[in-house]
Amino acid sequence: MKIIACYSNKGGVGKTATSVNLAYALAQGGRRVLLCDLDPQGASGFYFRVKPSKKLTEARFFEDVARFTKAIRGSDFDNLDILPANMTFRDFDVFLARMRNSRSRLKKALKAVKGDYDVILLDCPPNISTLSENVFRASDAIVVPVIPTTLSQRTFEQLKEFFREHDLPVKKLHGFFSMAQGVKSLHGDTMDEMRREHGKRLLKSAIPFTSDVERMGVHRAPVMVSAPSSTASTAYGALHDELVARVFGK
């Protein structure tokens, strides 16, 4: 099982759109996926029309395995389940550690309901302090959308710095250009510069800025479902393939 976190320390960069489409693409590829909506401002659950779970309080959530498995909701798509938002995730790293431990009660409970996952995808809140750095530690990969602007360039550098300071392997970071606009020369220049500077820490795939992605809120479905032949969908497909090759190996 692999844990992939989708994270950005800057809002409005297409992080949730990435989580939603990546989760969908992974499930379509035959992997059993649990998408955890950890971002209270995010809306990955909203895009799958899953209502937030109100009954769960954090304390009981982690004490009670049955409650956890009950909180998971099946999406409309095969192999893809959602853990809806509306909880505080202070001890989320404890949860992840339990998911890793095949003998934990949590893992056994999931296996019992045929709910063992190949991938846990985390749609993380945009603030490192809210989400413990331990989540980074627990993850196999951290996918970071970067808008090719000077400001985003700086935040990506800050993130790398944070990793170094906290003794986290920088190799886990997989940045990619999001909302990229080919016509803007600034975008082009920034992308060239960042690729030179960060090398392998940036994926080759880039997600273009398109209205199809923006309309996801209207369709309430991954763009790969509502506009499967759009350039955005093709780009998410390529991003998925590249990431799978990196995380799962060829």
Binding site: R32, F48, R49, V50, K51, K70, A71, I72, R73, G74, S75, D76, D78, N79, L80, D81, V113, K114, G115, R220
Partner: protein
């Protein structure tokens, strides 16, 4: 997540259309069909192993799908043209078919067009909370049936229960009986190679005998087409068993018919058997091919290759001859005449024990046969000549037939307890006989081989080695007979025989 395995439902003939009207708990049911229909073919073995086990094998669009009670349908690529289960590519369907007889081929049951659909229960945000996958089968010369599989989504148990209630309220029934076949292929006859003939204690012996014969004649007839088409070797096997059962009724049910009639019928049924013998022998050789190769060292395999090539060639001829015979006017006339004879029964002259009640008759016959077996078996030791062992085998076989014919007249439990050890004894005696018959016929085959033909010396060497091994095996089986009989004829067995067939007396 992967939908939980839930039972399949068969919808009433109206299909799922009415279900969408039912709105419940703020949810809407939405029905959608995929574009277009695909041709499908349903196949089964001739003795309907799939049908009788509640399963349906569907070939469509290059895939094999297996509907089964109490679980999700299985699906795998390929296998649509596989004649035998062994010919399927590896996959979940092949694995699930492993209980079918490896000797039986899959034959078309019916064809038609299918389409797939989905019935979804949506909430106020258009989120699917429960779903059912639909398979609508429209048979070309038959009826229409819609099979539905519930698929739960994790965390929406209530919606699933609601959808289930909706489907059950609309007349959906769990797919666990013959309803799908009878709805889809209403003209499909049930077939069993072992028809159950209803008897009671007071059925007259004449009627019992005639009923059994009348039940087995159609079994023989039903297998003719498969023998002619050479679909698989079981057709001929079952054809012969049916005729053999009839012949055993004629010889075992003494004095039910007039002696002259009995003799005449025996001759006529024997005549039906004669043309089938050689083909069956060759079938057995070819089916046992691997076992024969295992009996001799590799160096002698070349001779076996040649021998089996000769057998295969001869089989081709024998099959052609038999299928010609079965299609001949003479054969058809004879078999229809026999069917008519046992159907009308006016021309069946009754013998002196014709009106004996079946129960008394059965007790007498079974007890007598059992006593005979004991008498022979008690005299058997290491020095007893083979022909006496053969005789024991034949009496055991007759006892078994008698017991099978009269099964409905006796309590099931004790009866089963007798059949089981009897079967074991028969297995032993059967192998003893097979090894002996095979030696004889291989030697006969050797006698027919032309010495001058190149390669035949090799064949002769291999056959010689085979005969040697068969002889050894026969001796080993022979050595087991005394023990097998002792195991069969325990104190308990003896008491049960006395209780059931001789009023508890010695």
């Amino acid at each position: 997540m992967t939908p939980e395995d839930l039972p399949l439902y068969l919808l009433p003939e109206a299909g799922p259309e009415g279900l969408t009207d039912a709105v419940s708990g703020g949810m809407v049911a939405a029905l959608s069909w995929q574009e277009g229909a695909a041709p499908f073919l349903v196949r089964d073995t001739f003795d309907q192993e799939l049908r009788t086990s509640g399963r349906m094998l569907i070939a469509t669009e290059g895939r094999s799908e297996l509907l089964q009670p109490g679980g999700a349908p299985l699906c795998q690529a390929g296998g649509t043209a596989a004649r035998f289960v062994a010919d399927f590519p590896e996959g979940p369907v092949k694995a699930a078919l492993s209980d079918l007889s490896p000797l039986r081929c899959l034959l078309p049951v019916g064809a038609g067009a299918l389409r797939r659909g989905t019935l979804a229960l949506l909430d106020d945000e258009q989120k699917t909370q429960a779903r059912a996958v639909l398979l609508e089968l429209d048979a070309t010369d038959g009826g229409r049936a819609t099979v539905l599989q519930l698929q739960g989504l994790r965390g929406y148990d209530k919606a699933l229960a609601r959808l289930r209630r909706m489907i059950e309220a609309a007349g959906g029934s769990a797919l666990d009986d013959d309803a799908l076949y009878s709805q889809l292929f209403p003209g499909l006859d049930a077939y069993s190679p072992k028809p159950v003939v209803p008897l009671d204690r007071y059925t007259e012996a004449f009627d019992a005998a005639s009923d059994i014969i009348a039940a087995y004649l159609p079994v023989a007839r039903a297998n003719e087409a498969g023998v002619i088409a050479d679909d698989d070797t079981e057709f001929l096997h079952d054809y012969r068993i049916a005729l053999r059962k009839i012949r055993s009724v004629l010889s075992l049910f003494k004095d039910v018919y007039e002696p002259e009639l009995t003799a005449e019928l025996k001759t006529r049924f024997s005549a039906l058997m004669v043309p089938t013998g050689r083909l069956r022998d060759l079938d057995v050789y070819l089916l046992e091919r691997d076992a024969f190769y295992g009996m001799v060292p590799d160096s002698l395999h070349a001779g076996l290759d040649r021998m089996f090539a000769l057998f295969a060639e001869e089989r081709k001829e024998a099959q052609k001859a038999l299928s010609g015979h079965l299609r001949s006017a003479g054969y058809r006339k004879e078999i229809t005449a026999l069917i008519k004879l046992f159907d009308k029964r006016k021309k069946l002259a009754q013998g002196k024990r014709a009106d004996l009640p079946a129960y008394d008759f059965a007790c007498k016959l079974i007890w007598k046969r059992y006593r005979k077996i004991c008498a022979i078996a008690e005299g058997i030791d290491a020095g007893t000549p083979d022909h006496e062992v053969h005789e024991l085998r034949i009496h055991c076989k007759k006892l078994r037939y008698l017991m099978e014919f009269f099964t409905p007249l006796f309590p099931a439990g004790p009866f089963k307890r007798l059949i089981k050890p009897l079967k074991k004894l028969q297995d032993n005696l059967g192998l003893f006989n097979d090894y002996s018959v095979q030696q004889e016929s291989l030697q006969e085959f050797l006698g027919r081989l032309e010495g001058g033909t190149p390669g035949n010396l090799q064949v002769a060497q291999s056959v010689g080695a085979l005969v040697l091994v068969l002889h050894e095996r026969q001796l080993a089986e022979r050595a087991r007979v005394v023990d097998s009989f002792a195991a069969f004829n325990s104190d308990e067995t003896r008491q049960t025989f006395r209780d059931l067939f001789h009023g508890g007396k010695e």
